[in-house]
C-alpha cells in the first residue's frame, strides 16, 4: 500500500519535472508533430541557430522553440485547425503573396499539438511583465517615432493599412503574449538574431519598449 502510494508519488513528481510532459495532450501533440513532420520546417529546440542572412533564407518556417511563451493557447488551437496567413507575404519572400497553404490539423490533433507547443517555453520571457494597454506614449512610438506600421499591417478604421514584410499586427491581441513581445524587443539576439526588422535596443529605452509592447498587444 505504502509502496504503491510512494510509487505513484514518485511518478507524479517525475512527470512534473520531465520536459514536455503535461496532462493535456502534450505527449500526443509531440507524436503528431513528429508524424506530420512539422519539424522539417520548424525548429523546436533552442537556442537560435541562425548567424547569417543565408542561414535565415535557408529556413522553411518560423522557429517554434519558444512557441509556449510567444502564443496564446486559444490562438494556436484555432489556427492549427484552420490556418490563415499571419505573414502577408510568403515566408522569406518579398515578392510572393502568402497563399495560406499551411498544413491543416483536425480539431483533436490541433488541440493536442497546441498543448505540446505550449510546453515549449523560453526562460528569457518574464511572466506578468506587461499588461496590454493603449497609452499615448506607446501609440506615439508605434506610429510616429518608429513607424512600426511601415512593415506591419494594422487596421485603421476597419481598413488594412501599413506594410507587408513583417507578420501582420491585425489580431495581435488574440495571438501574442504581451510579455513575449516585450522580451522580443528587449532581447532580439535571443529570439531572432538575424531578421529584416531592425534591432531597437539602444534606440528605444526599456521603459519605451514596455509601453510599445503594451500598445501592440491591444491591436485587433
Amino acid at each position: 500500500m505504502i509502496r504503491t502510494a510512494s510509487l505513484a508519488l514518485t511518478l507524479f513528481i517525475v512527470s512534473i519535472f520531465l520536459p514536455g510532459s503535461t496532462f493535456a495532450g502534450g505527449p500526443e501533440g509531440k507524436k503528431i508533430f513528429e508524424a506530420k513532420k512539422c519539424g522539417a520546417c520548424h525548429q523546436v529546440e533552442g537556442p537560435a541557430k541562425e548567424k547569417t542572412i543565408q542561414d535565415q533564407l535557408a529556413k522553411k518556417g518560423p522557429e517554434l522553440w519558444y512557441a509556449g511563451s510567444k502564443f496564446k493557447k486559444g490562438f494556436l488551437e484555432a489556427w492549427l485547425a484552420d490556418p490563415k496567413p499571419i505573414r502577408p507575404l510568403e515566408y522569406n519572400s518579398i515578392t510572393k503573396k502568402n497563399d495560406g497553404s499551411h498544413p491543416k490539423l483536425s480539431g483533436k490533433e490541433a488541440l493536442d499539438a497546441a498543448a505540446y507547443l505550449m510546453t515549449l517555453k523560453s526562460s528569457a520571457v518574464k511572466d506578468g511583465a506587461v499588461q496590454p494597454k493603449d497609452t499615448p506614449k506607446g501609440r506615439a512610438i508605434f506610429i510616429k517615432r518608429q513607424a512600426c506600421y511601415g512593415c506591419h499591417e494594422v487596421k485603421v478604421r476597419g481598413n488594412a493599412a501599413g506594410g507587408l514584410s513583417g507578420p501582420s499586427f491585425v489580431g495581435v491581441a488574440m495571438r501574442l503574449n504581451p510579455d513575449w513581445i516585450y522580451a522580443y524587443l528587449t532581447n532580439p539576439k535571443v529570439f531572432k538574431p538575424v531578421k529584416d526588422m531592425p534591432d531597437y535596443v539602444g534606440i528605444l529605452t526599456y521603459s519605451e519598449m514596455r509601453d510599445l509592447a503594451a500598445y501592440a498587444a491591444t491591436l485587433n
Binding site: L57, G150, V156, D196, G202
Partner: protein
C-alpha cells in the same frame, strides 16, 4: 639565384592581388546582400522605391534610389546618417527606420556606396 628571387616576387604579387580581388568581391556581395535583405522590402529589389511595404496606405513613398535627381540632394554623410539613425536624422519621415544597432559602421558605409551606384550620382 636572381631568377629564383624574381619568381618569388612574381608569386607574391599574384598572391597579394588575389587576396585583394577576393576581399573586394566579398565586400561588394555583402552590400548587395544587405540591401536585398534589409532595404528591398521598402526600396524594392532594384532600388526603385517599389518594395512590398510601399503600399498605397503609406503616407510617404520610399526614396527611389535610382533617381539621380533625388539622390543628388544628399551628401554621403546624409545617406550614412539616414541609414544609421532613420529618416529623423535628415528631417525626413520615420518610415525610414534606423539601422545603427543592426548593421556595423562599415556595412552602412558599404550600403552608401551601393546606393550611390544605383543612382550613378555623387551627391552634393
Amino acid at each position: 639565384m636572381p631568377n629564383f628571387r624574381y619568381r618569388y616576387i612574381l608569386a607574391s604579387i599574384a598572391a597579394i592581388s588575389l587576396i585583394l580581388l577576393s576581399s573586394k568581391a566579398s565586400f561588394a556581395a555583402a552590400a548587395e546582400e544587405n540591401y536585398k535583405f534589409y532595404c528591398s522590402q521598402c526600396h524594392g529589389l532594384e532600388g526603385k522605391g517599389d518594395g512590398p511595404n510601399a503600399t498605397k496606405s503609406q503616407p510617404v513613398d520610399p526614396r527611389d534610389h535610382t533617381s539621380a535627381a533625388e539622390m543628388n540632394k544628399l551628401t554621403d554623410e546624409d545617406i550614412i546618417n539616414s541609414i544609421a539613425d532613420g529618416g529623423a536624422a535628415t528631417s525626413k519621415s520615420t518610415l525610414m527606420p534606423p539601422f545603427s544597432e543592426t548593421l556595423t559602421r562599415q556595412e552602412i558605409a558599404a550600403l552608401k556606396d551601393y546606393v550611390r551606384k544605383l543612382c550613378r550620382c555623387k551627391g552634393k
